[in-house]
Symmetry: C2
Subunit: 185 residues, 2 copies
DNA sequence: CCATGTGAATGGATTCACAGCT
DNA sequence: AGCTGTGAATCCATTCACATGG
């Protein structure tokens, strides 16, 4: 596959692709292009995505359940090694075949599996507390689904997914398109 | 509030704030700073966020339910005017007080409420079909939760939320931090 | 004197364009 | 011929710095 092909399917220019890939070394063959299978393997390797990451999920509400039943994770190198909730009514039930465990077992699980990533799908009121618990237990990254900014030491990475923000982005794009439409006239 | 204060709470420089805001006109008072209440109102107005957007939700699985029970939408100017699903078992049940309706009623609802935004929380196999249906019914923006890239005419905006991608971003950040750590030594 | 709005300077990323490999 | 890797040129966003208004 040539850099132009790659670019086309990503919405980038061919030069862009070449510049970026060249940063990692000479990954392509002049006159031939890039061998995608091999390329993928080498990129994954160089970016630490060649081994599986154990993760824990905290908060088994609608979103938590959606995440645990999400088949694609394993294929992408993530394995859920524990699901947790504070609610005694939920603890002990199963979500996608995994038994929900009480928060008291969080720390041991994280230590046992060397978990570095935690997924947090809890109400916004609990967000900061759960984040603190995860960090105290030793994770160094949190994927946060609560509509609340959580603070953490700069040694811990946080990625937030906020549905409202996503909707706002979309609304803005649509509004912008409509505005440009009018301006053209 | 001064541009420096604003910047501090957003992780930006004061100059950045001023440059950006100045694009919309002279919103601040020299010597005094910006009046945040007023600023917010004027920005919202200028960006089409001053009126409510009706939305529909298609696919009432775990994610669909999470979205419909998400209180924050209304406060941010989005109102769910209809929830839909293909599954006859789900149609007729309630999700967060809203009756789930069959896909056959999608078009009429969108027309009746002048809906421009659709939220799609369906299995990846159904994603493209549902997107097509939404577009045919007249929406101009889709928030897609299916882990599948959907294609659409360039007149339609698409914003995708893919949990796996978010997790990958997080894993990359954590990996990067670990790598820099080692490099420093 | 404080803080904005804005030209000018800076710096980093994207694009161009081409020598060289297959 | 086809396509990479890469210096050089270009573009664009961020930062600087200051004249001007409150």
């Amino acid at each position: 596959m040539s850099s132009k092909d790659l670019g086309a399917s990503l919405g980038l220019t061919d030069a862009q692709i070449r510049k970026d890939l060249a940063l990692f070394g000479s990954l392509g063959q002049p006159g031939r292009g890039y061998q995608v299978i091999d390329l993928l393997k080498r990129l994954r390797q160089m970016m630490g995505r060649d081994q599986s990451w154990p993760i824990v999920v905290v908060g088994i509400g609608n979103i938590g359940r959606a995440i645990t039943s999400y088949g694609s994770f394993k294929g992408e190198g993530f394995e859920i090694v524990g699901v947790f909730d504070v609610d005694p009514k939920v603890v002990g039930t199963k979500s996608a075949g995994k038994v929900v465990r009480p928060m008291s077992e969080l720390r041991a699980t994280i230590a046992a599996h060397n978990v570095r990533l935690g997924v947090m799908a809890v109400p916004k009121e609990a967000a900061q507390d759960v984040a603190d618990a995860l960090i105290a237990a030793g994770v160094s990254g949190i994927l946060n689904f609560a509509p609340k900014r959580v603070t953490a030491p700069h040694t811990v990475s946080i990625v937030s997914v906020d549905f409202t923000v996503s909707l706002e982005q979309l609304a803005f794009q649509v509004w912008l398109a409509g505005t440009e439409e009018n301006a053209k006239k």
